[in-house]
Structure formats: structure tokens, C-alpha cells
């Protein structure tokens, strides 16, 4: 402390210009001119009065204007929203501007001075606090009885276990779920909009079809969907695919993938290997597929290889073939987990 003070004094001595002190207070027009004062008073009261008017108009708008499915009626927003927001906003602004005008024109504008104190407590308070604390610690005997202290610490730490264990039922364990999708041998690849089955001749070269497994549209004997609700969304988040047709000569299939397509038609997972967005921006000429979220780009003519962007792995390919009726079906499930990476991904049990 004393060092600091000494330093301060030293610095003060070197100040090139002495503090001239607070400038003299100059009166405002409203302080000296009763006409101006009256005028300011009227301004403030007018603003407050306007606020009441707009508040009432807000209520009028609430009851008189229709809402409903026409959000584009007025300014693209719906007449009700525009009127309510406009009137409410003006009612609030009038109060705010009035209050500030009042404070600036009519309330005293004499600056006042308060003195600061160091944030620290005075030394005697500190001494007393420490003495009190020491008495408390000594009386508790926590220092003299390490057995009590350590067993208490142990008990507290152990109590953390139930707190963590109780969260166990937040969700099931992942198990092998991420490794599999609903795709299976012989499952038809269908249009994602209406569930229509697809034949190779339905597709032209350069075409991309957003597709899904047929089971998403299947119904049981009672006419109920086989998969619906949450289960459907969960299945979709892994099983969504895209079907593309390229010129067979353009395709550079890996040796073990030569029979995974039909005449230049290939099927890939639609779920990005980066963080899982559905990918569907298709560049016909280059056979590139771009993810709209983070722009990872995959070359579908080259086994779904990443050619740009933050994705770290190629897009998984679904082996397809034709069924007896000539519709496109899956040969099997995906041969690797689809979607974003996770720690134990490479050890997934794919059988």
C-alpha cells in the first residue's frame, strides 16, 4: 500500500498539467427561461399523452384486425402484427423519449461527486475476520482430526456417484445402433415423396433421385404404417439415400464395387460424413455432390470420395441390383456406418 502511494505521489509530481478542477456549471435555457421551461414541460406531457393514445390504438388493433393464415397481407407480415407492433412500439418509445426529455431539460443537471474507497477491506477488518476464522477452524477441530476430515471429504466425493448414476436413464447405450440402417437385401429403393418404385429406365443420365427404403411407405395388414413417428425419423436420419445415373464409362468403381450399380446407376447415403446434414446439391456435369451445410463435396463417379470441404471420409455407397420385376433394390445394408464419425466407428460390428 505505502509503495503504491509513494509511486502515485511521484507520478503526480511529474504531471505536465495540474487538474483544473470541475468546470463551472452553466445553466440550460430551461433553467433560466420560464418560457423554455414551460415548453419542455408541454413536450414531455405531450409525449406521455401520445403514449396513452398508442396504447389504446394497440388494443383497437388487437380486436379489429384479423390474423390467421395470411402472414403476407401487409408488408409481408400480416396486418395485425404490423399494427400491433407499430402501435405498441410507439407507445413505449413515447414514454421513453418523454422520460429522457424530462431528465435532460427539467431535472437538475448539477453534477455531483462521490468519493471512492479501495475495494479491499480495511486491515483491521481483515485481521478480525482471519482471527474469527481461525477460532472457528480451531473449535471445529478439523485440523486436529484428520480422520473426521478425510472421511467427510470421502463421503462428499462418493455422493457425486449417485448424482452421476441417476443420469444413466437419459438414454439407452449406443450399442450397435449406429452401424446399421433399415436397408436389407431385396428392399426396394423408392421415391422419397410418394414411395413410387424405380426402374432403371425411369432414370436419365445425369438425373438424381432422392430416395428412401420401401419400408418407410409399407403398411401392415391393418393398414397401419410399419414404421412411424419417432422411429421413422430415427430410421430416416440414417437410411435416406440418393440415386444417381451417370455414364457408365465415367464411373471409376473400386474393384470390389464393380457390381454395386446398375448400368451407371449408383446409390449413396444422403447423410454427410461430416456432421450429418442431408446432401443433395448435385452437379450433373462433374458428378459432384455438395453438402449445403458446410460445403463438403463428394465425387460420386469416384466412389463418393471427398474432393473438397471439411468432411473426412467418403460417402458410403449402397450396393443395388434389380429384383425379379425389374425394380431397383438393395443388395444388403450399407457396408459401413453412415453419417458423422464417432470414436468406436471403425470397430462397429457390421454383421
Amino acid at each position: 500500500m505505502s509503495d503504491d502511494n509513494h509511486e502515485l505521489e511521484h507520478v503526480a509530481a511529474a504531471e505536465p498539467i495540474a487538474d483544473p478542477g470541475l468546470p463551472e456549471h452553466l445553466p440550460r435555457p430551461t433553467d433560466v427561461d420560464p418560457v423554455m421551461e414551460k415548453r419542455a414541460e408541454r413536450q414531455v406531457a405531450t409525449l406521455f399523452g401520445l403514449s396513452s393514445v398508442f396504447a389504446i390504438l394497440t388494443c383497437v388493433a388487437y380486436f379489429s384486425l384479423n390474423i390467421g393464415g395470411h402472414p403476407t397481407v401487409f408488408l409481408g407480415m400480416g396486418a395485425s402484427t404490423v399494427a400491433l407492433g407499430g402501435c405498441l412500439g410507439l407507445a413505449l418509445l413515447a414514454i421513453g423519449i418523454g422520460a429522457i426529455q424530462w431528465s435532460r431539460k427539467l431535472m437538475s443537471d448539477h453534477e455531483i461527486v462521490e468519493y471512492r474507497h479501495p475495494a479491499a477491506s480495511p486491515q483491521e477488518d481483515r485481521d478480525e475476520a482471519i482471527a474469527a476464522l481461525e477460532v472457528g477452524i480451531a473449535e471445529s477441530g478439523i485440523g486436529r482430526r484428520p480422520l473426521v476430515r478425510n472421511s467427510l471429504l470421502g463421503a462428499m466425493a462418493t455422493l457425486g456417484l449417485p448424482a452421476i448414476v441417476f443420469l444413466r436413464d437419459l438414454g439407452p447405450l449406443p450399442g450397435n445402433k449406429l452401424a446399421h440402417t433399415v436397408w436389407a437385401r431385396g428392399m426396394q429403393v423408392v421415391q422419397d415423396v410418394d414411395g413410387a418404385k424405380i426402374k432403371p429406365e425411369d432414370m436419365e443420365i445425369g438425373q438424381l433421385v432422392n430416395a428412401e427404403p420401401e419400408i418407410f411407405f409399407a403398411t401392415n395388414s391393418e393398414g397401419q404404417p410399419v414404421i412411424e413417428g419417432t422411429a421413422l425419423l430415427q430410421a430416416k436420419a440414417k437410411a435416406a439415400v440418393i440415386l444417381v445415373r451417370m455414364h457408365p464409362d465415367d464411373i471409376k468403381a473400386l474393384p470390389d464395387r464393380r457390381n454395386w450399380g446398375i448400368d451407371g446407376i449408383l446409390c449413396y447415403s444422403k447423410i454427410c460424413t461430416h456432421v450429418g446434414c442431408p446432401i443433395s446439391l448435385w452437379e450433373q456435369q462433374t458428378h459432384h455432390l455438395l453438402c449445403p451445410c458446410h460445403q463438403s463435396t463428394f465425387d460420386l463417379a469416384d466412389n463418393g470420395k471427398v474432393i473438397f470441404g471439411p468432411a473426412g471420409r467418403h460417402l458410403p455407397q449402397l450396393p443395388i441390383t434389380l429384383d425379379a420385376d425389374g425394380y431397383i433394390v438393395a443388395q444388403s445394408d450399407f457396408t459401413e456406418p453412415v453419417g458423422p464419425s464417432y470414436w468406436e466407428r471403425d470397430r462397429s460390428n457390421l454383421t
Partner: protein
């Protein structure tokens, strides 16, 4: 109302008619003892400066969020149960969707003022986070985080983080296609966590993504957990602010020992209270006139669909940018997968950034060795290294923000997406150091300019012609007030360190760390320009006077240039600038 008691007459004030306000105050004080603290706080001093309003905007936005949020919670149904929409909005009628999305549509189209409140809530959230960020920059640039306010800086930093989490949880609730895509990305981020990723994801979503748990869970976080924490931290922030008292700009009569300004009652109550209504009014106008998050256009969430050009709320932009420009690095080794491409930008980088922000006051204090209390603000130019550091950080922020919209930039400006991304990957390392150097030199130039003005006066704009036909500009001295303002700052002291070994040849403890500190301190301060000493100032004035004499007779009179055209007599003219 009874007349105020007058005690300058013969009757004592106490006999005046008791007024009802006094009775209430008495009732309250007999139970709460509030007069002791109220006597100081009622006339608490608030210094005046426009930049002190920024934190207030954040505070008032939060109040608006609480008010509009309560309104929305009366109708919002945080459930992922599937329903068929049957409300007023034609285009979505008959479509399967979650109850969360259906109730959001209900609020927007079938509850009067519902859409207004939704939009006000969203705008206020944007404003809340923006105001916190700008307030934080103001605190940083003026050195208001210095001792004794470091803890309040940390509280503020945590508030900003909580505000961002709260915003993310909030815009995920409607369960529309855009917010679902955001959650899908969050799922990818969580899955990339080493060792625990897939487990964390399953626990978070109550099973496989998307499950039927995440919306109710986010709702609890959004309306209870995070707002509770924010409220508690705001209370702590305000209490510390009252305890430390406000910082103020140096100036005549404004010192480290005092605080000068207007009293809370009545001036600041009116100003701050009025400002609440202004912020509220502006948010209401925004909610009424500017569409935000039109979830009805996006449709319900479907994990097989996404919209091109999907963008998160603005404050997630830098996280989005980091994720987009990160190269696709992934390590597969011993049967494990390490997604550096997601883990580094999504989890490590935000933590590092937060660490730098929260730790900054302590880093600066250690380097500068400045352990004094500071209540006077510093002009940004007078802390060139700090200012340049923030400028560099702003450039990082701006680049990442732009990178987060690389697809939008590409389509709007007809640029190549890949080139933008490659550019950003390099720029993020090259631009900030350049910005740092430029900003630092800029600050130092401004410091030199201040000294020039102190020593030689300011440029009057009056051009003088001397006997030889040469021209020069007349400089005039600054007003005393202005000159004092420029000199009211500390001299920087470079920490030189404990010299290598003492007289007995014993190395000082921690010599290495100490040398590092000395080197950093030198880099921090050494090129700063210090204010002139008293002697330099006197010499400067003396010099100016001499110059004056040398140029007699032509320069003998401060002149406007017309005085030497022989049209009128110049004797007695005084053109010294008057304030």
C-alpha cells in the same frame, strides 16, 4: 399529497401531517432496515458517456426476453409427439409434424399478438447477445476490466457464453426444418467427442438422433436452467458494479479517487428507466415490422431434407465458419476414429477462445506488472497493444463470420466457393497479425498526434505567408481543459525484470519466466509514446513563442491571411482561437 415539511419556521418539521409514502417507508424500514443502504444508493452517482449505455441495452433486452418469453410459454407445447396440423396456415394443413412445431404455428397464426411476441422475443435475443458483445468490447478497449473489476469481467464473459447457449436452445425449440438441421449439426459435434461421443449423443437425445426427448429437454434448459443462471449472474454483475462504483473518463475534476456524474434519483432513474422503454419500443417496432425466423416457410423437421443456404443465428456464425474452413482431417488408428475436422473447431476452439477472453485481464496484469486499482478509463490509443489485440480478434471474428456464410458470398457475389474457403484458411492466420501491426502503429500515431497538439498546439486552419513567399499553418494552443484531458493518463513503465544474477552470482528464482515477462513487457509498452513532461511542455510553449518572435513582423499577429494584403491595419487584431 401533503406539502413538504418546512423546518425553517417556528414549527418543527415533525409536526407536519404524516404522508402515506412516509408511512409505507417507515413500515418497510422497521422490517427491512433499508434506509442504511438507501441513504447512499438513492443519490448514487452515474457518470455520463454514450458508451455506458451498451450494457444497459443488454440488461433491458433480457427483461424484454423474460416478458415476451412468459407470453410464449403460455401456448408453446415442447413436445415431439406427432400431430396433424389443422390450424389457420393453409400451406401446412394436413401435414404431420411435432406438437412443438404445431404450437409454434398456432402462436404465429391463431394467437393474436403471438407472431409479434415471437418476433420480439427473437429480435430481443439477437440484440441481447449483440449488446453484450459490444459492451464487452467497450469494457476491453477502455481498460475497464482492470483491477478491481476482473471478476466482473469474468462474470460478463460467462454471461455472454450463457446467452449464446440460451439463444441456440431457443431457436431449436420450434422444431422446424432449419432448427432441426442445427440440432443435427450439434449431434455431429457431440459425436466427435473422443471416447464418449456416441454415448453423449444417445444420452442427449434419449436414444438415436432425433428421438423424442431433445425438445422437452432444451425447453427446460431454455426457460429454467439457463435463464436462472443468467439472472443470478446479472445480479452478481450489478452488485459488483454498485460496490466498485462506475469507471469514468478522466477530465478536469475527474480523478481515480472520485466519481462525477448525475445522481440516480432523479436523473438516472429517468434516463435509464426511459431507456428501457426506448429499447422495448424499438424491439416492438422490429417485431412488428421485420420478419425474423419465419418457421412456417421452412416446414417441419425431416432428417432427410435440408434447405440450401441454411444459416444459423448470427452469433453462431463464427462456430459455423470454423466448421466450414477446417480441412477434413480424420485419424483412423487402432480401431478408433478421431475427427479433428469436427472436434477441433467445434469443441476445442470455442474453449480456447473463451479461455483467452476470460484470462485476458490476468495475462495483461502479469505482463505489465500493474497491480494498482484503476477507475479512470484509458483511451484505446493509449493502450496500443491491447487495442491492436482486440482489432486482431475482431478480424478473426469477421473472417470466421464471412467463412460461415461462404455459400451465400459465393452465390451473391458470383465467386467461387472453393476459392473463398481456401482464402479463408490462409487469411485466418495472415490477416490478424497484419491487423495487429496496423492497429498498433495507428494507435501510436494517434498518441504522437496528441503530443504534437500538446507541444505545438492544434492546427488552426489559418495559412500564413512569410516574407519569402513561403506558406505555413498557424498552430494555436489547446484549451487548458483539453490539454489536461490529453495528459490525464499513466506513464507506461516497462518491466525490466530482476537482473540475471545477484552479487553472489546466484540466479534469481524463476529467472527464465522473469525474462520472458520482461521481454513481453517491452513488446507491450516500449514503442508507446509517453505524454510530455512538464519541462517538455514548457519548452514546447517557449519554442512556440520564440518562433513567434522570429517571424515578426509578418507572423507577429495571429492572422487570417487577409491581414497582409494591405487593406486594413492589423495592429491590435487578436485572432487567437476562442473556445
Amino acid at each position: 399529497m401533503s406539502a413538504p415539511a418546512a423546518s425553517n419556521g417556528t414549527t418543527p418539521a415533525a409536526t407536519a401531517k404524516p404522508n402515506p409514502a412516509g408511512a409505507i417507508a417507515n413500515w418497510a424500514d422497521e422490517r427491512l432496515g433499508i434506509a442504511t443502504s438507501a441513504k447512499k444508493q438513492i443519490r448514487k452517482v452515474f457518470p455520463d458517456h454514450w458508451s455506458f449505455m451498451l450494457g444497459e441495452i443488454a440488461l433491458w433486452s433480457f427483461v424484454i426476453l423474460l416478458l415476451t418469453g412468459v407470453f410464449l410459454s403460455l401456448w408453446f407445447n415442447p413436445s415431439m409427439g406427432e400431430v396433424v396440423y389443422n390450424g389457420s396456415y393453409d400451406q401446412l394443413r394436413g401435414i404431420h409434424m411435432s406438437e412443438a412445431y404445431a404450437s409454434t404455428l398456432h402462436i404465429s397464426f391463431d394467437v393474436r399478438a403471438g407472431l409479434l411476441m415471437r418476433q420480439m422475443h427473437h429480435w430481443a435475443a439477437m440484440l441481447f447477445i449483440a449488446a453484450m458483445l459490444v459492451h464487452m468490447m467497450r469494457v476491453f478497449l477502455t481498460g475497464a476490466f482492470r483491477k478491481p473489476r476482473e471478476l466482473n469481467w469474468i462474470i460478463g464473459g460467462v454471461l455472454l457464453l450463457l446467452g449464446i447457449l440460451e439463444g441456440f436452445a431457443g431457436y431449436s425449440l420450434p422444431d422446424d426444418l432449419l432448427s432441426g438441421t442445427g440440432l443435427r449439426i450439434a449431434d455431429g459435434l457431440v459425436k466427435a467427442t473422443p471416447v464418449l461421443g456416441s454415448y453423449m449423443s444417445f444420452f442427449m437425445f434419449g436414444g438415436e438422433f432425433p428421438g423424442d426427448q431433445i425438445i422437452p429437454r432444451l425447453y427446460t434448459a431454455h426457460v429454467l436452467l439457463i435463464p436462472g443462471l443468467i439472472l443470478a449472474l446479472i445480479a452478481a454483475h450489478m452488485l459488483l458494479l454498485v460496490y466498485h462504483k462506475h469507471t469514468q473518463w478522466p477530465g478536469p475534476g475527474r480523478t481515480e479517487q472520485n466519481v462525477v456524474g448525475y445522481p440516480m434519483m432523479p436523473v438516472y432513474a429517468a434516463k435509464a428507466g426511459g431507456f428501457f422503454f426506448i429499447v422495448f419500443g424499438v424491439v416492438a417496432l422490429m417485431g412488428g415490422l421485420m420478419t425474423i425466423n419465419p418457421v412456417w416457410r421452412f416446414g417441419p423437421y425431416n432428417p432427410a431434407e435440408v434447405t440450401a443456404g441454411s444459416q444459423p443465428d448470427w452469433y453462431m456464425g463464427i462456430a459455423e465458419g470454423l466448421l466450414r474452413i477446417m480441412p477434413g482431417w480424420e485419424t483412423h488408428i487402432w480401431g478408433i476414429t478421431l475427427s479433428w475436422n469436427v472436434f477441433l473447431p467445434g469443441q476445442v476452439a470455442p474453449m480456447v477462445l473463451l479461455g483467452i477472453v476470460l484470462g485476458y485481464p490476468f495475462i495483461e496484469q502479469w505482463v505489465t506488472g500493474d497491480k494498482r486499482e484503476h477507475h479512470l478509463l484509458e483511451r484505446p490509443r493509449n493502450a496500443p497493444t491491447r487495442t491492436a489485440f482486440l482489432a486482431a480478434m475482431i478480424s478473426v471474428y469477421g473472417l470466421l463470420w464471412a467463412a460461415g456464410g461462404n455459400d451465400i458470398l459465393a452465390t451473391q457475389f458470383h465467386l467461387d466457393l472453393n476459392t473463398i474457403t481456401y482464402f479463408m484458411r490462409g487469411a485466418i492466420f495472415i490477416v490478424p497479425p497484419l491487423v495487429f501491426i496496423i492497429a498498433k502503429r495507428w494507435c501510436i500515431s494517434l498518441q504522437r498526434h496528441d503530443n504534437d497538439m500538446l507541444l505545438h498546439g492544434y492546427e488552426s486552419g489559418v495559412i500564413m505567408r512569410d516574407a519569402d513567399g513561403g506558406y505555413s499553418e498557424k498552430h494555436l494552443p489547446l484549451s487548458e481543459e483539453h490539454a489536461y484531458r490529453l495528459t490525464a493518463r499513466n506513464r507506461d513503465q516497462v518491466y525490466t525484470g530482476v537482473s540475471g544474477a545477484d552479487a553472489n552470482g546466484v540466479e534469481a528464482p524463476n529467472a527464465r519466466v522473469d525474462q520472458l515477462r520482461a521481454r513481453l513487457s517491452k513488446a507491450w509498452f516500449a514503442s508507446n509514446v509517453q505524454k510530455p513532461t512538464k519541462e517538455e511542455l514548457e519548452e514546447g510553449h517557449h519554442h512556440a513563442e520564440l518562433e513567434h518572435e522570429h517571424e515578426v513582423p509578418l507572423e507577429g499577429h495571429a492572422a487570417d491571411g487577409h491581414q497582409f494584403d494591405g487593406r486594413h491595419d492589423v495592429v491590435g487584431d487578436d485572432l487567437t482561437h476562442k473556445h
